[in-house]
């Protein structure tokens, strides 16, 4: 079931177009930085971008920081929102359900396919970022400086970058689960995608309000930027572990809700 879903997803030109568009913004930023030599002032702009001019090996992280707040969630919401509702709209859902695999397994298969899409996308963004960073800027690939001013060996830097990539993938699980849940509620992929984006925008907006501080630890986007904590020395695990747990809870609850709704849903198309 999972293999079938993956093949279907990655054979679509639309999937690759989405990944291409995602990479466009970091490329534009890198070229502009290289041409003008104007890094954002420290503390301004996306994470790590101000440090890129001195060490291009940090550009994969800067690229992730650029796509993380908006572009990546949109891509995830589009793909996940399409997963069930798209089949319903195209009239193929009942043929899918005619297979003996069962509806619960179909849901899990759809979610895993979306997560593999996220992983591939993030890896491509990081790889393109690394190529850009090492060709357009002075790179110091042998070592790096942690946020705390200590020296990281090339191995440590690579290990922490891998952790950060993994963390960003997990951070997208909540978006995928929201879009998948909405996708089982409606026959319109657009509706499901916009529903998931509405949740994210509401969450991001509430995070800027002091009055919303009591509910902030439960908002799905609360710990997204915690991947920066992986580059402090010693690593600050507090927000990272909370972020992982929170995404796990959202995936568990929303997958259960999707199952509750979808397992007996009247499928007419």
């Amino acid at each position: 079931m999972i293999a079938v879903e993956l093949r279907k997803l990655f054979r679509r030109p639309r999937t690759w177009a989405t990944i291409g568009v995602l990479n466009a913004l970091p490329i534009v930023v890198a070229v502009l930085l290289a041409v003008t030599d104007l890094a954002p002032r420290p503390g301004q702009g996306p994470a790590f971008l101000s440090a890129v001019l001195t060490n291009g090996a940090l550009f994969p992280l800067a690229a992730l920081g650029i796509v993380l707040p908006l572009f990546l969630p949109i891509a995830v919401a589009v793909v996940a929102g399409d997963s069930v509702a798209g089949e319903a709209q195209a009239g193929t859902l009942r043929y899918l359900l005619a297979r003996p695999a069962g509806r619960t397994r179909l849901l899990v298969g759809k979610l895993v396919a979306v997560l593999v899409f996220v992983l591939v996308t993030v890896l491509i963004v990081a790889a393109v970022g690394f190529l850009l960073g090492t060709t357009l800027f002075q790179a110091q690939p042998l070592a790096g400086t942690s946020v705390s001013g200590t020296t990281l060996t090339a191995g440590q830097l690579a290990g922490r970058t891998a952790l950060a990539i993994g963390y960003v993938v997990v951070s997208m699980c909540g978006v995928a689960a929201f879009a998948l849940f909405f996708s089982t509620l409606t026959d319109s992929p657009l509706g499901a995608t916009l529903g998931a984006l509405a949740v994210l925008i509401a969450s991001s907006l509430l995070l800027t309000l002091d009055a919303a501080a009591p509910i902030a630890p439960y908002l799905p986007t609360r710990y997204w930027l915690a991947f920066v904590d992986l580059f402090r020395d010693p690593i600050l695990w507090r927000d990272v572990s909370r972020g992982l747990g929170l995404q796990g809870v959202y995936v568990g609850v929303l997958l259960a809700a999707s199952w509750a709704n979808f397992a007996t849903k009247d499928v007419k198309s």
Partner: protein, 383 residues
């Protein structure tokens, strides 16, 4: 075949069975969500055991806990909306916004305090000879070899441990009382309350939660008189006792960073040079004068504990700038003594007649006490 051969009835029953299945599934999901939502509430409401220890014992334990090694994560939230100025911008931020801090403590002369920002951090590494300040976003390391004394407030001063010791150090036994127990950073903490006795005090009370085991202050709240929320609330969210290791607190600047020697506190030095000296009275508003090492001699400091008052004679140019800035503040109150501002328990009075103020009075005292103090100053007694 369905009894009676009624196909419609059969379909109804099937639909009901499906419906009750869906209802059961939704009930399961709703129950799961309810348990998840209730968990933090239940954990937060779980009572903490109190211990039979007097307020004086707790104060002594807190003051002598400077040798307790620990590491932790703390957050402070300031409710003071201080006027923003160029030179004191970082100080105003400290008291008006949320600050996230990590600390590794191996004693007063060997510790490290990191102030975390979303995409960087500013770290202060203290050693026996001085301190390193590392600013990631500016890629800069600054070495200060100052011998202590007076300095502008820095984030490390807002750590519960440091702030509590400062506020408790001058409290009198009669001002102390116990205020129950609570759980802070997952540890049992005994609460200690300071209610300042001075009539001039604008601080209603200071609550300090002290770790029952080690004596470390874990949380501090400063409440202004009549305020609905604390003016300063700083607490640990994680604490681990034990030596964090010398490798964590030590610092060597990265090879490519800009390194420079610190120039001390420009604002304080400037103040010492430009202020004219005035003969201050021995007491103001019932508060005795005090001396603080490192403070410019032209500044009069009064009070004790959490009730403090500073009086600064203003040079003409500064006075004009300040009164213009104060006049732009919609909350400023103007009367025959000058212009008054309040930020939580902190009062500010620009005192002087004929439009240009001669003194800046500020501190954790009531506006009445500010006015009373201003009338006693040389040159203003007639006002």
């Amino acid at each position: 075949m369905w009894p009676g051969g009624d196909p419609d009835g059969f379909r109804t029953v099937v639909r009901m069975a499906q419906g009750s299945g869906a209802a059961r599934r939704w009930a399961l999901v709703t129950g799961l969500v309810a348990v998840l939502v209730a968990l933090p509430v239940v954990i937060g409401a779980w009572p903490a055991p109190d211990a039979d220890r007097s307020a004086a014992e707790l104060r002594a334990a807190a003051l002598s806990s400077t040798d307790v090694d620990f590491s932790g994560y703390a957050e402070s939230a300031g409710g003071l909306a201080l006027p923003a100025t160029d030179q004191l911008g970082s100080v105003a931020d400290l008291f008006s916004s949320r600050t996230r801090m990590r600390v590794w403590w191996r004693g007063p002369a060997d510790n490290r305090v990191d102030v975390l920002t979303p995409a960087g951090e500013t770290d202060v590494h203290q050693d026996t000879d001085g301190r390193w300040t590392w600013d990631f976003e500016a890629d800069r390391a600054v070495r200060d070899v100052s011998a202590g004394g007076l300095a502008l407030p820095a984030a490390g001063d807002l750590l519960p441990t440091t702030l509590a010791r400062r506020l408790l150090s001058e409290a009198r036994p009669a001002e102390l009382s116990r205020a129950g127990a609570d759980r802070v950073a997952g540890r049992d903490a005994l609460a200690l309350r300071v209610v300042p006795a001075d009539a001039a005090a604008s601080v209603a009370r200071v609550d300090v939660w002290v770790d029952a085991g080690s004596g470390l202050p874990l949380q501090v709240q400063v409440w202004g008189k009549g305020a609905g929320r604390p003016a300063v609330d700083t607490r640990f969210l994680d604490v681990a006792l034990g030596d964090p290791g010398a490798a964590v607190t030590a610092f060597a600047p990265p090879a490519d960073a800009r390194v420079r020697a610190g120039s001390g506190d420009d604002v304080l030095d400037e103040a010492g040079r430009r202020l004219s000296s005035v003969s201050f009275p021995g007491t103001l508003a019932g508060l005795p004068r005090r001396t603080v090492a490192g403070a410019p001699p032209a500044v009069g400091l009064y009070g004790r504990g959490v009730t403090l008052l500073a009086v600064v004679p203003l040079p003409y140019g500064v006075a004009v700038d300040l009164s213009r800035a104060a006049a732009a503040d919609p909350d400023a109150v103007r009367d025959q003594l000058g212009v008054r501002l309040t930020a939580g328990p902190l009062g500010i009075l620009l005192a002087g007649d004929s439009g240009v103020p001669a003194y800046l009075l500020t501190g954790t005292v009531t506006t009445d006490a500010l006015a009373q103090a201003a009338r006693a100053l040389p040159g203003l007694a007639a006002a």
